[in-house]
């Protein structure tokens, strides 16, 4: 027994080291971004890897002065909130109807979500752009939100459905016997029970929309409509010399998602597992 135990603790040490190295490799690029956003350019050139000797916030000021970061931030925020909420508003009843209302073709509709998830957005761009232009709404946030909703619906329906399926049918039947309509059932019975799943899928969608590049790159060309992620991607070429300014821009774009993550880690991870595992 003894040699075996020794062996196991040895393995545990190896495992621990492996996890430490993985964590460092994940944290270092982030650290690199944060510390360099606080350096002067000269200091970056002399010492790109280490901590700043003298902390400066000038880079953030330069970033905000050079580009309408505040506006981009607001644009991203608007798209993210509107897109995520509307997706939820539409996906929730759909998932409920497929899971519990025994509608015709429900299985087919559910089966459709997986293939729809796999269609690459790049293939949708040209047709959607043409479609939008026939209605003369190419440069509108509304269209971009509409597209985001369309892209996110399959995954969202899939996740919520997997959650609702596990709710016992008897609950719904008794609600019906009590005279509840489907909508009542949805709001009064299912909503409270599904709340965690809704939160999770909302969080996943928030992260997705905030970080989306391709659709907003093509549709929101006006500088006044641009999102933060598109802004910083293009912004790079203008300040290529002043790397700390670029890093400051990246930090501005990253902080909101890190905040979401740290405050909602449990729901994000927990719900994701829940939805995927049951599927």
């Amino acid at each position: 027994m003894k040699p075996n135990q020794k062996n196991i603790s040895f393995l545990r040490i190896i495992a621990f080291i492996f996890l430490v190295i993985t964590s460092i490799s994940i944290l270092y690029p982030l650290l690199f971004m944060f510390i360099n956003s606080l350096k002067t350019h000269q200091e970056y050139v002399n010492n790109p890897a280490g901590l700043p000797i003298k902390v400066t916030l000038d880079n953030f000021i330069t970033a905000f002065r050079g580009k309408p970061f505040g506006l981009w931030f607001a644009n991203s925020l608007f798209l993210t909130i509107a897109g995520a909420l509307i997706t939820e508003l539409l996906a929730f009843p759909a998932a409920f109807a497929i899971a519990k209302l025994k509608i015709k073709g429900g299985k087919f509709l559910l089966g459709l979500t997986m293939p729809l998830m796999s269609v690459p957005p790049v293939a949708m761009l040209i047709p959607l752009f043409k479609l939008a232009s026939t209605f003369n709404v190419t440069k509108s946030r509304g269209v971009v939100i509409f597209i985001y909703v369309g892209i996110l619906l399959p995954m969202t329906i899939y996740l919520i459905h997997n959650f609702i399926v596990s709710i016992p049918d008897s609950l719904i039947e008794s609600a019906h016997i009590d005279g509840c309509t489907n909508l009542d059932t949805l709001v009064k019975i299912i909503l409270p029970l599904t709340f965690p799943a809704l939160i999770t899928s909302t969080l996943v969608n928030i992260v997705w929309i905030w970080n989306e590049l391709l659709v907003s790159l093509v549709f929101l060309q006006d500088e006044s409509l641009r999102t933060l992620v598109v802004g910083i991607t293009l912004f790079k070429s203008r300040f290529t010399l002043d790397i700390p300014v670029i890093m400051a821009g990246l930090v501005i774009a990253t902080i909101p998602m890190l905040l979401v993550y740290f405050f909602a880690q449990k729901q994000l991870i927990g719900g994701l597992i829940e939805g995927a595992i049951k599927g």
């Binding site: 982030l30 293939p115 293939a123 905030w210 910083i232 990253t254």
Partner: protein
């Protein structure tokens, strides 16, 4: 009264699915039909002209297409590695290695970061005179210092590595959840039988998570096909010497970089074809499992 109410419900329940599926039809299904039908046309001074399979002939003749296809396949080959690393990390966390909760939180962080942010930061870190190489030189490992994104043999693998870096957390969380629901007595019994950690991983962990592995592999394959544009766009722009083109990037370049949009549509059809192949494969696997 009851019957009437039931009938009302009968109709109204379709309203629950209608808006969602209507939007999906417009945003996803309509473009598919459009792309397929337009791949047989070309644009002549603003007018659509039917050209049969000319676009396909030209598209399949273009060496760029084969580079892109090959690179997508190489990325596919990285998927098993991604799944394996995820599962391995998950089982280490499951074994409650000291500090596992903190490790779990850290490993998931890249999932919430924007790909362009990740791409830009890594572009700087991995420059020939960047921090990574400087560090390697400082610890006397000059021979490992490479032009990570500028070397044609290396660039795609560097990108693959960064994708793994970003996607690892998702897989880990997925597998960890499954492992937590595995009956612990299986592991205990194996311990009594004298099985080592590696045997347990091989004979218990992998079979027990088979379904999740399949799910993860298919999701990651789709990622490698349909969601890698951002990495390429930000980090290499397809270079050096076209060595990092993937299908998605090829479509973007052909469609929006000048030239013939309709040739881009033929590539869209190809990418849709591969995606549907993957999906069919997955549903066959699911059916077999059931």
């Amino acid at each position: 009264m009851l019957a009437l109410g039931k009938k009302k419900n009968n109709l109204s329940r379709y309203f629950f699915v209608l808006p969602a599926y209507l939007i999906m039809a417009i945003v996803i299904i309509y473009p598919i039909i459009f792309v397929i039908s337009n791949s047989f046309f070309t644009n002549k001074m603003g007018e659509s002209v039917f050209v049969g399979i000319r676009n396909y002939r030209l598209a399949f003749k273009d060496p760029l297409f084969y580079i892109a296809l090959k690179n997508n396949l190489i990325l596919f080959l990285c998927v098993p590695l991604l799944s394996f690393l995820s599962l391995l990390t998950a089982s280490l966390l499951h074994a409650k290695i000291w500090g596992w909760r903190i490790f779990q939180s850290i490993i998931f962080i890249p999932y919430v970061l924007a790909t362009p942010v990740v791409g830009i930061v890594f572009s700087y870190l991995l420059q020939l005179n960047g921090v990574v190489n400087k560090t390697l030189e400082a610890i006397n490992l000059q021979s490992l210092a490479k032009d990570w994104l500028g070397n044609p043999q290396l660039a795609l693998f560097t990108i693959a590595g960064i994708i793994i870096w970003k996607q690892l957390g998702f897989g880990v969380v997925l597998f960890l959840a499954r492992l937590m629901s595995v009956d612990n007595s299986l592991y205990e019994a194996a311990t009594i039988d004298g099985a080592g950690a590696i045997q347990k991983f091989w004979f218990i962990t992998i079979p027990q998570t088979k379904k999740i592995i399949e799910f993860h592999v298919i999701i990651s394959l789709i990622d490698m096909l349909s969601w890698v544009f951002n990495y390429i766009f930000v980090m290499t722009g397809g270079g050096p010497g076209n060595k990092t083109y993937v299908l998605e990037f090829l479509i973007y370049k052909k469609a929006f970089g000048g030239g013939d949009m309709n040739i881009a549509m033929t590539y869209c059809v190809v990418i849709l074809f591969i995606a549907s192949f993957l999906i069919t494969l997955y549903s066959l696997l699911l059916r077999k499992d059931d």
